[in-house]
Symmetry: D3
Subunit: 184 residues, 6 copies
């Protein structure tokens, strides 16, 4: 695969819907690329914030990780929770990503995915934090616009509270929870 | 699971797009339910035709099979070909369907799926024929409307020619191929 | 008309929206084919249930009827209630269906439509029941997703309660009504 | 009906698709209101042009007629040609419009619809011309964007050539036909 | 620019969304042409009403003004409030409209836009009234359908109450406000 | 503005369409966020490639720049070329971005936008290259899917050929041009 072919394949992320919203009745929901974009934006600002607070973090690595964290879904699609009982999505994504990256001679980047999936580095923890936060912000926006049936998603707040970065970004999360409560 | 819950879950088939079209750039493509509907309609008429030609076939069984053939996708989604290298879609679908049907006390219907998947009965062969034919008719309609990039799908014509029911319905397929050729 | 032409014409049911939802502000609502699919699925399971309870019913006939019950809308479209004061939809649908079926030599199937429209057989009653139930399940799903303005549809509950099959499937309907009440 | 209720009912024209495009595979086509808007715009400029050429025409009447020419479709919907063999659309529209206008005490406006439908005045002829021209411009735009399968619509060119206003606006039509021919 | 080119350019108004709704989460909202159509319809009936009440008003001028009031957005798009702090939308629209109208030799119509923008004539006041009322009716319809987050729009009620035509059409506005309050 | 408010405002980029496609008839085109995502992905891989070739480049800076390059459009929207004759988009974007970044205490990031807009650094040149290349890849994908009327966009190839990075990535561009030529 050439770089151009990779860029073309990444185009699928613009076409593929995030199935969590779709299955709960959100019409024409965001694409995977939409989500990846804001996750990267959040990761950028939170990584800088961490560093400003004196935490050692490789900000470039965090941003790269965020951009790449759902790239494998160009092949796998956003297989929803209802399917994950029957299909090993994590394994499938890892294999697909390995193939994509190897074929352009960038197998070195696979470790970013692993650190993200297993939260084995400060950068991995941050991008997982950004990924979940992005989803919650979107849930809030859909609810504010009138969509309902999204309560399940807010279970992720607990996971964010258990993430060690909550110590630094707890305010952001609790502000969001307060906004969500005001949605009638 | 109650029957009502099954009917609710089947609602996902209306929301989920057929990913083959989506990934090739068809905007807002048909749902899985859309496809299942016409497959059932085709199966109904072709089964009657077969019987009229003196072939022994259980028409009711064929129609039921067509209605149920993609039901598991309510949980699994229409996992595309690009993903099937990494995920065992067939196995996942079978397990999901088994669970859905068992939980409403209708495990007896699972054999319909197996006969369809493995084409181990005349009814299974017919529904596979109807399933592929439905896809080709849709490909033709999208091409007629102006969409391009759907050539790959027409490989299914070869599979239809190898199906033993081609003997009876070859005309339909070749008429369709002729129509397709006229698309500019 | 050839069988292939019938299948092509049935493709319109995938493109045409159910106007009841559209006119009340549901964005990009289900297609007629979406509705027909789940109606057939419901008819299949309810027919089996009836027979299991010892009621005499031709399950195959019921399933066929469900698949065909809105086929004429491929020509007529889903003419909404607001129009039915000015246009005789029922008569139009019957004529269109008669023409479609006759032209492929299947005029024999027209009686299925009549039994459905006039509820003159147990199968006709069942498919009418399935048709209304399908609509209510969809109304519930749209309301759960956040859409409002669908109260009118729930008048159909009364019609279901008057249908003689309510004796057997009243639980399903009342469960659905309970779910609907929980929508905030 | 109050004026406010009329304005609310007219809102349906924004939601309802023009079915001619829909049935030929145009995804998410224009609304009836979209079409009515440009028809009114065209009528405005062509009426002024006629008067500038010394033709006696009531420009205000022509513009009003264009705004109202599809108002009845808020109740009737854009019943397509395939249905008009079975349903008397023209009669239905007239009755619906009569009711709408009478109920707000504006029965006087119904004659505008009649003059348009039957082309019994210069203004009626002009709005019919604008209505058809609007459709052709839209057909051209969809074709230019890549949609196909719209050849049937161009039959309207012949009707425009037979309209007595072709004498004045033939250039516009032939320019459009030339543009259309350049679409690859 | 020829008249045909103007009509083609006006086609952009069918494609362009009204950004106020879009930014608040309304999926696939109305087009600018949709809005312009109903504004013209409202202006037509309100202008007649005014005249019936003995107010001197040029009804034709009012209707023309309504049809043309957003024509410049075919070039400028519906630049939202968030942008108007940084871009002079009014000036941009006026220049674009001037160019469009001049190039077809209809610079005389520009004064209609000015009277509308600055509410310097009874017709200008009326079309501004119709424009705002149309937006509020649409806000109500979206809210009735389940969309939320549209409270800001209702600030326009105050502006309508200050418009001198409120004296004549206050009932319509207050009826709408009452309907809006009933939305749960 | 808090960081959370910035993330919320960035959500507009998911809702706003890229108007270039919209105005040429692409139905439901990509969002600004979709475009920003792939631009960042491309910038990431091209920056690494440059460095691998021994060019001095701050890869982190390039990736950040790509993520932020259209952030101001959350307020300004994707004001199309047709409007830029009447509105100073560049100036508007810069002011909006300055306000957004200052209000979260990150005015330091504004220089990234300037370097991108004016191509005053190797990173700025790279992101401009990635931005244009992303657009061309998307044009190719739409054309491959059947959309037409996108020829104008390919003028950007000339600009890419003049960019000094063409020396390194000319192959990618010419491969894309070859693919485009094969679209029928």
């Amino acid at each position: 695969m050439s770089l151009l072919e990779l860029f073309l394949e990444a185009g699928s992320l613009k076409k593929l819907p995030r199935t969590g919203w779709l299955l709960r009745g959100v019409i024409n929901p965001e694409s995977i690329a939409d989500h990846s974009f804001r996750t990267a934006l959040i990761a950028l600002f939170l990584a800088d914030e961490l560093r400003a607070k004196g935490i050692e973090i490789d900000t470039e690595k965090a941003i790269r990780m965020a951009i790449l964290h759902d790239l494998a879904e160009a092949r796998i699609t956003d297989v929803p929770l209802t399917a994950q009982k029957y299909l090993d999505k994590g394994k499938g994504e890892r294999e697909a990503l390995m193939e994509m990256l190897s074929s352009i001679g960038r197998g070195d980047l696979l470790s970013l995915f692993d650190e993200y999936e297993n939260e084995t580095s400060i950068e991995g923890k941050l991008v997982k934090f950004a990924d979940r936060m992005e989803m919650l912000i979107q849930a809030y926006e859909y609810e504010k616009a009138g969509f309902r049936n999204l309560d399940e998603f807010w279970g992720a707040v607990e996971k964010l509270r258990e993430n060690e970065l909550y110590e630094y970004f707890g305010d952001l999360i609790e502000d969001l929870v307060r906004l969500k409560r005001k949605v009638k």
